[in-house]
């Protein structure tokens, strides 16, 4: 018997995306279906059809791609958001409910998995057509799959072993249905949320050509042909200034088409009059406006120049002013976690970090509640484990729900002194080396001092202050923390996965979470960041039980697999858990309804509408 499975979103971001967080991340996210329906009294007023809305993008977010296959350098913020308004992905998730996909916003019905979890059958929606009048079919998905398979190395979100490597066979069942045999059994929730969300039908009968003016064929069905088609389409996709005029991109199946796409990043979406699905746009146009800085955006917002903008955290004192101008101000929480990885392979401090009691003492020194309230002005949420703390869902383990390491400096200090550390001149020094219960631990030599170095991203007062608070708290238990601020990209460059003998392994702690450290797809499993062999397991955290739990969360069908994983890592502390900042604090015109602030940073502007 087949089971119908859960939703999807886009796969976990590659490391490069780390930290750039909100931005990169937004690229593949989708948005949700739980938007307020037109006429919902919560919005007040009478919903109108038509009208225009201007949306402010984050600083330096410059869309530069709409082709459904992103190549490196084209995963920037909002590319995915814009793309999915024009070319519908197979599945889209709304972060307000990560348990199921937002079917209305996608191109297919819910997937059906075989009982053994080794194959999945997907049926396309019946009512969708391309702008050229052709039906959206399973062949269109096969076209996308063939291009990906033949050109996977050029695909920005390709991870070895994952899509398309984990597809053993792609079979067209009929015009509307296809089946994919998988290389092994997978957790259906994970597969839908983290793999199927990457798929996007493309108009085979319009795009399967190898050169400008060429005949349409089935070129994609041979690897050589697929490469030529791919190269041609990528070449066309590079011409940003032609996005609004190139006939290729006019063959859309989404609720919007491109009306304007400038090289400076301004994009105007126009309602697609040929859209045949059930999620048609209410507005005539939606303009996504780029800004070079949050301050520039704030200035425009204060002049009423955007309908949907944001407040820099430090401008929250202007909330009343902004509200008096007809906006409502609401935080937009991200489906993310924020943390500071330990470098377990650092030759100097690696052996220290490997001691669980040290990590516990450090975690007990993080006053998350106060940091979130005072420093982040309540625009951050304390986080206690590997699963986003909000919105609370079925993935949170019991241990993570209730912070296992409450802020307690006395207890933290006692943990150190009871394991052979003495505070000398304000710094804890190991006086009882060895692996016994009351000793410093394996690999920690006598005389070792608890002096940590932290690399942190510059440019944010909140982050600076958070690090100062951490430094202050740690100093009270005998840990000296020295802080070095660098631009975000520099921090990421200087915090690579490394081996102890490598010079690059000199980093000890690293923070890149001003906008959240890691944004998850709908299914927040940790195979990309906490598995021993994960590509973005920056600190080389390695724990056999954690590996087992990570594996179970992606391949087991047990409903508690994610909760077990969540609880274990909340207690085992692979990183320092930190408060997770809101994705942004939004200012939304009160006349704009239907807005859902998707924690996965996706948007569904087709559901926005103006009210009188």
């Amino acid at each position: 018997m087949n089971r119908s499975l859960r939703p999807s979103l886009r796969a976990a971001r590659p490391l490069a995306v780390l930290g750039v967080a909100a931005t990169l991340l937004a690229a593949g996210c989708s948005s949700g279906g739980s938007g307020t329906a037109p006429g919902d009294p919560a919005n007040g007023g009478t919903p109108q059809q038509g009208g225009s809305v201007t949306f402010a993008m984050p600083p330096n977010a410059t869309p530069n791609w709409i082709f459904p296959i992103a190549t490196p350098g084209h995963t920037q913020a909002y590319n995915g958001t814009i793309r999915q308004q024009v070319f519908l992905p197979l599945y889209v998730y709304d972060g307000t409910d990560t348990s199921k996909p937002d079917v209305k916003a996608g191109a297919a019905e819910l997937p059906k998995y075989s009982e053994d979890g080794k194959s999945v059958t997907i049926t396309m929606k019946d009512d969708l057509t391309w702008a050229n009048g052709e039906k959206v079919t399973a062949r269109d998905v096969e076209f996308w799959f063939n291009l990906i398979k033949a050109n996977k190395e050029k695909w920005a979100t390709y991870n070895e072993g994952q899509f398309p490597d984990n597809i053993a066979k792609f079979t067209l069942v009929d015009d509307k249905t296809f089946t994919m045999d998988l290389t092994q059994a997978y957790n259906p929730d994970w597969f839908t949320a983290n793999q199927l969300t990457r798929m996007s039908p493309m108009p085979q009968k319009a795009w399967d050509i190898q050169e400008a003016g060429g005949q349409v064929g089935d070129y994609d069905r041979t690897p050589e042909g697929a490469k030529k088609v791919f190269d041609y389409l990528i070449g066309e996709a590079g011409k940003l200034s032609e996005y609004a005029t190139n006939p290729l991109w006019k063959v859309a199946d989404g609720p919007f088409t491109i009306k304007e796409f400038t090289t400076t990043g301004q994009v105007t979406l126009a309602k697609n009059p040929k859209y045949t699905g059930e999620d048609a746009a209410h507005l005539d146009t939606v303009t996504l406006k780029p800004f070079t800085s949050a301050q520039a955006e704030l200035n425009v917002l204060r002049s009423g120049g955007v309908d949907y903008g944001y407040l820099p955290a430090l401008a929250l004192s202007q909330q009343k002013t902004i509200e008096s101008m007809g906006y409502k101000v609401e935080p937009w929480d991200g489906w993310a976690i924020t943390y500071i990885p330990y470098n377990f392979n650092n030759p100097e401090m690696g052996p220290v970090f490997k001691q669980l009691y040290i990590r516990q003492a450090v975690q007990m020194s993080v006053d998350q509640d106060t940091i979130a309230r005072v420093i982040w002005h309540d625009q951050a949420t304390p986080g206690y484990g590997p699963v986003p703390q909000v919105p609370p869902g079925s993935y949170l383990g019991e241990k993570q729900k209730t912070n296992p390491y409450l802020f307690d400096l006395d207890k933290a200090k006692a943990l150190l002194t009871s394991h052979g550390w003495e505070i000398q001149n304000g710094v804890a020094t190991c006086t009882r080396p060895g692996g016994g219960d009351d000793q410093c631990g394996e690999g920690v030599e006598q005389g070792t001092q608890l002096k940590f170095q932290l690399l942190t991203e510059s440019g944010s007062t909140e982050t600076d202050n958070t690090m100062q608070e951490l430094q202050s708290s740690l100093s009270k238990i005998g840990i000296a923390l020295s802080i070095k601020s660098e631009p975000l990209n520099s921090v990421l460059d200087h915090s690579p996965v490394c081996k102890p003998e490598e010079a690059a392994c000199s980093w000890q702690l690293s923070f890149f979470g001003t906008q959240g450290s890691w944004y998850y797809p709908a299914y927040p499993s940790g195979e990309d960041i906490f598995a021993g062999d994960a590509g973005t397991n920056l600190g080389s955290y390695s724990d056999p039980k954690a590996d087992e739990l990570v594996k179970a969360s992606t391949s087991s069908t047990s409903p508690t697999a994610m909760q077990d994983y969540s609880s274990y890592l909340a207690e085992n502390l692979p990183v320092i858990w930190m408060p997770n900042p809101a994705y942004q604090v939004s200012a939304i015109k009160k006349t704009l309804g239907g807005v859902v602030q998707d924690p996965m940073a996706g948007m569904t502007p087709q559901r926005w509408y103006l009210v009188k």
Partner: protein, 299 residues
């Protein structure tokens, strides 16, 4: 009969001989602006280095419960910053860093620039050409850019800041001293020394540089002022000394974030301190320039 008593003849007293240095000092102290600058600098030094003894505060630990208190609340004359540290105490500690780096970096830049310029100007020829092209090339690269790159490579500390700022600020003094050296090397006393078998080293260090000292000293004061501003720039961009240390630029940068909150005590004290110290050094520099100016000494 009354004898007439010859009235004593008052002999004209010869004017006291005043050495050139005394004349310079007199001229300097006759310049009210220069004296004001000197007094201001002395007060700032006292404030930064003696102040913490009078107004001791904890500048190491944060006190989030006391964040952003207004001046006068809970015994904080200038309020607290966004992590609860006393602003007055922080102004003193930050001033120490700014002044230490500024003065040391300014002097270092002057030292390097003086030697470089004197050697180039005295030697002349191809060596001069090469040395001055190096200076031209260095001037073509914005100092701020070099500072930012350096701050990214090296962990910012007081020492590294001094070295970095000193090493990017010596170009202008080098040009000035070279111009002086070009003139001085053809003077009779230098030629005479050379004719008597004096070495080039002696010519440069005993004759060229001492005779260019006026230019050097005046420029040094401007170098110090510029260095303090550079420290402020770098810190303003978030690449200054690491917390819990701070400097006035970092304080100002932090305060600017709260412009819309009305926390003026996070902005004005640090901003005013920077203005005062830079103005003080500039006034002193102006006074020294006038003092060293031979044509003004007879006024």
């Amino acid at each position: 009969m009354t004898a007439s008593v010859p009235s004593p003849v008052v002999a004209a007293q010869p004017a006291p001989v005043v050495g050139p240095y005394r004349r310079m000092v007199r001229l300097f102290f006759a310049n009210r602006l220069a004296v004001t600058g000197l007094v201001l600098l002395a007060l700032l030094l006292l404030f930064c280095f003696v102040g913490p003894l009078v107004h001791p505060t904890d500048q190491i630990h944060t006190q989030l419960a006391d964040a952003n208190l207004a001046p006068g609340v809970k015994g904080h004359p200038l309020g607290t910053d966004d992590v609860g540290r006393d602003v007055l105490g922080r102004l003193m500690v930050g001033g120490q860093t700014s002044l230490e780096i500024g003065i040391a970096a300014g002097l270092l830049a002057t030292l390097i620039g003086t030697v470089w310029g004197a050697v180039a100007g005295y030697t002349g020829g191809w060596l001069d050409a090469i040395m001055m092209r190096v200076v031209d090339a260095g001037i073509a690269i914005p100092a701020l850019f070099l500072l930012l790159v350096s701050a990214t490579i090296f962990r910012p500390t007081v020492t590294t800041q001094i070295l970095i700022i000193g090493c990017v600020s010596w170009l202008v003094p080098a040009r000035l001293v070279r111009a002086e050296a070009l003139s001085l090397r053809s003077r009779d006393f230098v030629q005479a020394m050379m004719a008597m078998g004096g070495s080039h080293r002696r010519a440069v260090f005993r004759h060229i540089i001492p005779n260019a000292i006026g230019t050097v000293v005046v420029n040094a004061t401007f170098q110090v002022a510029d260095a303090i501003l550079l420290v402020a720039y770098v810190s303003f961009l978030g690449l200054g000394v690491a917390p819990p240390a701070t400097d006035w630029g970092a304080m100002l940068s932090n305060g600017i974030s709260y412009t819309y909150d009305g926390y003026w005590w996070l902005i004005f004290p640090a901003g005013i301190a920077i203005i005062l110290v830079v103005s003080a050094f500039n006034c002193i520099g102006d006074g020294l320039r006038d003092s060293f100016e031979v044509r003004l000494q007879g006024r």
